[in-house]
């Protein structure tokens, strides 16, 4: 618990709040674009909520991979400066435990920020006067799946940033991840299971079929499997870091 509180204290000096505010605005902007980009948008149509849902999903797919990489890079870089890893290890906080604390702290921040931005869907949808009932279950379902993928990517990027002091590695992988997330919408379903970033394609809530925006099923079992696998791998990797000599 103390380790997690320490991480929040470290974040104060890193000035992460502009990035967090930007993320919220990006999701709001994407949701608005989802509504306004279709000239035939009809607030009274049965599938009207698909527009803001798809806009928010596109914004999260495009921005989360690099956003997560930047967060992880900023917080872990603090340890590379002035022997932070060694200092923490001497205070009974070995590298693996420190990484776990960072993922928990950043994860709380990530979920809070993304969740706040995701409120754009009911907010903007109500503002433009969508008349059909709000699909609460599907909205929550997509939100939870997107958070699981984001936290999985966060765990991966914390490990990368801990292993490689050069931030170009982590950010470069973040940029490549962004490309994969954007391109994976056109991959076949089996290919969407190959890389963590391509899982965004498995949870797109709405898509165009025969020139109409229709609801798409969310792949809950795939996301659950991703969460379990990444958790197991992360715990194994950080367990190894705990026993590694500095």
């Amino acid at each position: 618990m103390t380790a997690i509180v320490n991480e929040f204290t470290k974040m104060r000096g890193l000035r992460l709040w502009p990035l967090l505010v930007a993320m919220v605005l990006v999701v709001f902007g994407g949701t608005a674009l989802g509504i306004m980009s279709d000239p035939e948008f009809d607030p009274g149509a049965p599938g009207a909520w698909n527009h803001p849902l798809m806009g928010a999903a596109m914004a999260l797919t495009m921005f989360s991979p690099l956003f997560v990489a930047v967060l992880a890079s900023r917080l872990v870089d603090a340890e590379h400066l002035a022997n932070g890893w060694l200092f923490s290890a001497t205070t009974e906080l070995p590298a693996g435990r420190l990484c776990r604390a960072k993922v928990v702290a950043l994860g709380i921040l990530l979920v809070a920020t993304t969740g706040t931005g995701y409120l754009a869907v009911p907010t903007l949808g109500s503002l433009v006067g969508i008349e059909v009932p709000f699909p609460l279950g599907r909205w929550l379902g997509y939100g939870c799946c997107a958070m699981v993928i984001a936290v999985a990517l966060l765990a991966l990027h914390v490990l990368i940033a801990a292993r490689f002091e050069d931030q170009l590695v982590g950010l470069g992988i973040g940029v490549l991840g962004l490309l994969i997330a954007a391109a994976s919408q056109f991959f076949p379903t089996w290919a969407g299971h190959l890389l963590p970033w391509s899982y965004y394609a498995l949870i797109i809530p709405a898509g165009y079929t025969a020139d109409a925006l229709a609801e798409l099923p969310l792949s809950y079992p795939s996301i659950a499997a991703l969460g379990c696998v990444v958790t197991a791998l992360f715990l194994a990797a950080t367990g190894r870091l705990d026993r590694k000599e500095l």
Binding site: G30, A32, L33, F63, L66, F67, R74, Q167, L168, G172
Partner: protein, 249 residues
Amino acid sequence: MRTVRAETLKLRRSTAWVVVLLLPVAVAFMACLNTLTSGEPLEDGWHTLWVRVAGFHALFPLALGVALLASLMWRPEHKGGNWNALMGGPTTSGSIVWAKTVTLWLLTLTMQAVLLVLVVAVGRLAFGLDGFLPGQYLVATVVSGIGVLPLVALQSALSLFVRSFAGPVAIALVGAGASVVAQQMAGDLALLSPYSVATRTLHLSSGVFGDAGTLAPGIVTLLVGASLAWLLVINTVGARVLDGRDVRV
């Protein structure tokens, strides 16, 4: 000239070349993979290929690539006592700002050239397209060499004043995203953003994101004028602010 030469010498052992070569390869590879896995042919040959590769590259990867290169270029100056050495030396602030901008611009031009070569190679080898890339896209690539100047100047200025490596990259992502939205909603008014100028020039004559699909002299003149105006403003302000900065204790 000496300051530009000094900056290019620093690139010799830099990892900037990884970004210059790898980013266009990643973009071209993704576009190629998408087309092949979808099973659908390129409906309009070279035009469809250009839109999928260069059109997408202009949206986010270009801004992110320039941001990474700028952060890499300024990183040595923010380490140890290098900032004090830089500020205490005989080189003027204006020379430093312009030299960094020119060097970053040369790296970006190289990245654009690599992308162009890849589009042609992918078209001929992967999809068996006949002929060559239409001349309008070669012109668009040349014009984009001027069009990236505002983006280059802005990212260089951000990396100059923000010591964090990741911060300017995050700003580039948000800026590029906001510019895409602005182009959809406000058309040419979006040229008030340096990110939009870079995106717009690479989309010239492609017919996407508000482009008319033709290479009109009016829009080319507007884009070149906007690019040079932005470059002058950003670098003049950057040099002035840097003049007022002191050494770090």
